[in-house]
C-alpha cells in the first residue's frame, strides 16, 4: 500500500485540478449563454435570406445567372476548416479534422491527388492538425475567432468571393460544428460557393414569375453578397457556440472525474491509515505480551 504522505499529496493536487476545471466550466457556461443568444437571434434572419435567395436563383435558372450561382466542375477546391483557438474542449477539434478527412475521401479525392485541394484554417487547433497531416494550408484566420463581428467576417467573405470570382477556386466548402445544444454539436460540411439551388423546393418555384424592383441585376448583385456574408457569419457564430458548449461539457466531465478520483483516493488513504494503526496496536500488544512472558 502506498504511503500516507504520497496519497495526501495526490489528494491535494487532484483537488486543485478540480477547482480549475470547475472554474473553466463556469466560464464556458457564461460564454455559451452569450454565444447561444447571438446564434439564436441570427438564425431566423439567415434562414429567410437563404430561402429568398434559393427561390430567386431557381426562378432564374437557365437565364442570366450570377457567377456565384452557376454550377461549376469542382477542379480546384478550397475547404475552410473551422476549429477553435484553444484546446481543452473535448473532441471538438479532432472531430472537425476527422470530418474534414471523411469529406475529402468522399468528394475530393482526385483533387487531393492532383494537389488542387487547399485549406484555409480558422482556429489554431485545426490549423495544427491539418499541417501535421501535410495538407496544403494556404492561410489562417485565427484572429477572427477572438473577435467575431459582422465587419470582420465581411472582410474574409469578400476575399473568398474574390477568389471564386477570379477562378482561383471552383468550389469553396466549409467544415464546422453546428450548435444544437450545449452537449450536442452537429458536424457539418457545407458547400459555400457556388450557391446550391434548393433541390426540394426548386420544382414548384421555377414557374414563379417575379417582378424585380429596381432590376433583376441590382437585386442579385445586392442579395447574393449579403446572403453569403450572413451565412458565413452564422457559421462562425454556430461554431463559436458549439465550442463553448463542447468545452463546458468536457470540463463538467473532468470535474466529475476529479471528484470520483478524490473519493477513491480518500478511501485508499483511510484504509492505509487504518492498516497503519492496526499494525501499531499489534506491535504494542505483542510487545506487552513478550514482557509478561
Amino acid at each position: 500500500m502506498a504511503n500516507l504522505k504520497e496519497i495526501r499529496t495526490r489528494i491535494a493536487s487532484v483537488t486543485t485540478t478540480r477547482q480549475v476545471t470547475s472554474a473553466m466550466k463556469m466560464v464556458s457556461a457564461a460564454k455559451l449563454k452569450k454565444a447561444q443568444d447571438l446564434i439564436l437571434q441570427i438564425r431566423p434572419y439567415a434562414d429567410k435570406l437563404q430561402e429568398i435567395l434559393s427561390s430567386i436563383s431557381s426562378a432564374l435558372r437557365n437565364q442570366e445567372e450570377s457567377i456565384f450561382t452557376a454550377p461549376k466542375e469542382p477542379n480546384k477546391v478550397l475547404i475552410v476548416v473551422l476549429s477553435s483557438n484553444r484546446g481543452l474542449c473535448g473532441a471538438f477539434n479532432s472531430n472537425i479534422v476527422k470530418k474534414t478527412i471523411d469529406h475529402i475521401e468522399e468528394n475530393y479525392f482526385l483533387q487531393y491527388k492532383r494537389d488542387d485541394l487547399h485549406f484555409l484554417a480558422i482556429g489554431k487547433q485545426g490549423e495544427k492538425h491539418l499541417r501535421s497531416l501535410n495538407l496544403r494550408v494556404i492561410g489562417e484566420e485565427n484572429a477572427l475567432l477572438d473577435n467575431i463581428s459582422f465587419e470582420n467576417t465581411t472582410i474574409l467573405t469578400e476575399r473568398l468571393m474574390d477568389y471564386f470570382k477570379a477562378g482561383k477556386y471552383d468550389r469553396i466548402d466549409i467544415v464546422y460544428n453546428q450548435f444544437k445544444n450545449a452537449a450536442v454539436q452537429i458536424l457539418t460540411a457545407k458547400q459555400f460557393l457556388p450557391i446550391k439551388p434548393d433541390e426540394k423546393r426548386s420544382n414548384d418555384i421555377i414557374l414563379l414569375d417575379y417582378i424585380f424592383e429596381p432590376s433583376k441585376e441590382t437585386i442579385i448583385e445586392e442579395l447574393i453578397p449579403k446572403s453569403l456574408k450572413t451565412q458565413f457569419y452564422e457559421v462562425l457564430l454556430d461554431s463559436n457556440a458549439a465550442e463553448h458548449g463542447a468545452r463546458m461539457t468536457a470540463m463538467h466531465q473532468a470535474t466529475d472525474n476529479a471528484t470520483s478520483l478524490i473519493d477513491d483516493l480518500k478511501l485508499t488513504y483511510n484504509k492505509a491509515r487504518q492498516a497503519a494503526i492496526t499494525e501499531e496496536i499489534l506491535e504494542i500488544t505483542s510487545g506487552a505480551e513478550a514482557l509478561k512472558g
Partner: protein, 78 residues
C-alpha cells in the same frame, strides 16, 4: 396575407395583415392581398402595415429586402 418582418437581431412582426406599405429603393409602394410575386430592395424609411383588425403600425427600417410570393411576405429589415 401573411407577413413576417425579420431583422438580424430578432423577428419583429409575424401575422396576418391586409396592407403593407414599403419604402422601395425606387419609391414607396404598397402590397395588397394576392399581389404578384415580387422581390424588391428597400431604402431607409418607414414600413406601414394595416392588420386584419384595421390597426395601423409603423416600423423604421434602414434598408433591406422584401419578397412576396403566394400571399406571404417576408421583409428582411436592417
Amino acid at each position: 396575407m401573411f407577413l413576417e418582418i425579420v431583422t438580424p437581431e430578432k423577428k419583429i412582426f409575424e401575422g396576418e395583415i391586409t396592407l403593407i406599405q414599403l419604402p422601395g429603393s425606387k419609391g414607396t409602394f404598397a402590397i395588397l392581398d394576392h399581389h404578384a410575386p415580387i422581390v424588391s430592395t428597400l431604402a431607409a424609411g418607414k414600413i406601414r402595415i394595416v392588420d386584419t383588425s384595421n390597426r395601423t403600425r409603423y416600423f423604421d427600417v434602414n434598408g433591406g429586402i422584401v419578397e412576396c410570393k403566394r400571399n406571404s411576405i417576408v421583409v428582411l429589415a436592417e
